[in-house]
């Protein structure tokens, strides 16, 4: 006998109707209706108007900077995040607990605070900015400044994604590999890397998504020169200040669509890698 199609499995526990109803109501109110506005309002301009709004040289430059800097920051965080996760999982050293806690500081520190602090450090009269100024390199108020801010906000993601997986990597397999004559490099490449790669990719994806939309920590250090160091979220704010709602929504929607495509690609890569890992 085939089982009857059910929307919900029966349960003796009370409260499904109440909690499910509340969750759907709350999500509709605070997520679905607002996002519907973001998805529908750009089309008030028509398809041509939408296209024009997101392909002005200024909008293109802003989107390019946001995505490019977020990508580079995510890659730098992938490398340094791996080093940090490795140090925290594999070694014991004094102050480890504090170092571990400080990894989350970019999550906890309000972005505006991070923004003004980074600007103070890398401005031409700041402690590090002054060194670079002497050799003629500017960091603050250029795309390099944007990159630094995005590295800051993305730092915890890779560490926190890789750390638990690295802890679970079976040391016996590593030791077996070693007994069979694998060098340290071979062990890292053939045993550890395949195990942590899916987590690494998901951490990179999270850092990237966060960096694309980041606003508070960037606007102080960016200088915000149109076409040069203006990020996409700032352009949305500027459009709003000019009461160009549809234009602002168009750039917002383009940003969201592009970053979902990147995340989808990373998810696909992750799926392929974990399937290969199981085989």
């Amino acid at each position: 006998m085939t089982r009857r199609w059910r929307w919900k499995e029966p349960s003796v526990l009370p409260g499904f109707g109440l909690t499910f109803g509340f969750v759907v109501f709350y999500l509709s109110l605070f997520v679905l209706i607002p996002l519907a506005a973001l998805i529908l309002r750009p089309w008030e301009l028509g398809l041509g108007g939408f296209w024009d709004a997101v392909t002005t040289p200024r909008a293109l430059a802003a989107l390019r900077l946001s995505f490019y800097a977020a990508g580079v920051a995510a890659l730098i965080n992938a490398v340094m995040g791996l080093v940090l996760a490795w140090a925290l999982v594999r070694y014991e050293f004094p102050g480890k607990r504090i170092i571990d806690a400080l990894v989350d500081l970019p999550f906890a520190l309000p972005t505006a605070v991070a923004g003004i602090a980074l600007t103070a450090i890398y401005a031409p009269n700041g402690p590090i900015g002054a060194w670079f100024d002497e050799i003629g390199v500017r960091i603050a108020y250029t795309p390099t400044g944007v990159l630094l801010a995005l590295i800051f906000v993305g730092l915890p993601f890779v560490v926190r994604s890789v750390q638990p997986v690295l802890e679970d990597v079976d040391r016996e397999i590593e030791e077996a590999a070693e007994t069979l004559g694998a060098s340290a490099f071979q062990r890292a490449r053939l045993v550890i890397l395949p195990a942590i790669l899916p987590a690494l990719i998901s951490g990179v994806g999270l850092a990237f998504a966060r960096a694309v939309g980041e606003y508070g920590s960037v606007i102080f250090i960016a200088g915000n020169m149109p076409l040069k160091s203006e990020i996409a979220p700032l352009l949305i704010v500027i459009q709003l200040e000019q009461f160009n709602y549809a234009g602002a929504a168009a750039i917002g929607l383009a940003m969201l669509g592009l970053s979902f495509m990147v995340l989808l690609a990373l998810n696909g890569l992750q799926a392929i890698l974990s399937r290969r890992g199981q085989a």
Binding site: W7, S11, Y91, D100, P110, A112, V212, G216, M255, L256
Partner: protein, 280 residues
């Protein structure tokens, strides 16, 4: 562990630890130190001057008010979502979970923008709001809406994996023994998840009090009225009152440090009662 391996690991250890710690110091510790250094640039007196201003205290009160409304609402939502998702099997559960996580992958600016699209002067609901004589954008209501959207997933994300892992056995036992719904929730479920709930509330609160992008879009930056603490920092900074901006920023940095301290204590002391990903 073989001697060869131990020596290989020992050999790499100082290098890996050194690079990792130096990187963290450069990227994270230096900005934190800079906040305090700049705040005390003109001594204690200059520092205290920043708090000798009614606007600063209005910003503190507003930040507390917005968090006091949005955090409990999102905590309630988190409990309901975790109960619904971890205790029943139904179609569309994966979609529901994705929707709960969605606000994390949206730019804060967009989380503010959507409310303007709905309730701004040219928003979908503008005629309705006009008829009712209510305003949302540039008011505390707007700040609360934006903050709720940004911080919506925090509590749910801590509770869902934990309650899924704990399973419903204890609740079913209570039900068999004749406990009513409220007794099951308050005597069985809540005690089992209390530390994870506190953990989620802690992170939710830190973000709610520190949020900048989303509230900046809906606030209108009216001093003394719709200016939260992070927005007050921005205003002072843009007026070239750097000491004032950094002095105000120390309050927010202090909040972040206290949050991290309590978070670490919870991970250390109550690891078994937190979601598995928080145990390290």
């Amino acid at each position: 562990m073989s001697a060869a391996r131990r020596s290989a690991v020992r050999g790499a250890a100082p290098f890996v630890i050194g690079v990792g710690v130096l990187w963290l110091a450069l990227v994270v510790l230096l900005p934190l130190g800079m906040v305090f250094a700049e705040a005390f640039r003109r001594g204690l007196e200059g520092f205290l001057q920043a708090f000798d201003e009614p606007d600063a205290w209005a910003a503190v009160r507003l930040t507390l008010l917005v968090a006091a409304i949005s955090v409990p609402l999102n905590a309630l939502f988190g409990l309901a979502a975790a109960w619904c998702i971890s205790r029943y099997e139904f179609r569309g559960k994966a979609l529901l979970t994705t929707l709960i996580d969605l606000p994390f992958s949206i730019s804060p600016v967009i989380s503010g923008l959507v409310w303007v699209l709905l309730f701004g002067t040219a928003g979908w609901f503008a005629p309705l709001l006009d008829a009712l004589g209510v305003r949302v954008i540039f008011t505390v209501t707007g700040l609360v809406l934006a903050t709720i959207l940004v911080t919506l997933p925090f509590v749910a994300r801590e509770l869902i994996p934990l309650m899924q892992q704990q399973g419903a056995d204890e609740e079913l036992a209570a039900l068999t023994l004749g406990a009513g719904p409220w007794a099951i929730f308050s005597k069985v479920t809540l005690p089992n998840v209390r530390w994870a709930l506190l953990y989620g509330v802690l992170l939710c609160n830190a973000r709610a009090m520190g949020e900048f992008g989303a509230v900046s879009v809906v606030s209108g930056h009216i001093r003394g009225l719709t200016n939260t603490l992070p927005l007050h920092v921005e205003i002072l900074y843009n007026e070239y009152d750097f000491v004032g901006a950094f002095a105000t920023a120390t309050v927010l940095a202090g909040l972040a440090l206290v949050t991290l301290l309590i978070k670490s204590l919870l991970e250390w002391r109550f690891a078994d009662e937190l979601a598995a990903t928080r145990r390290h």
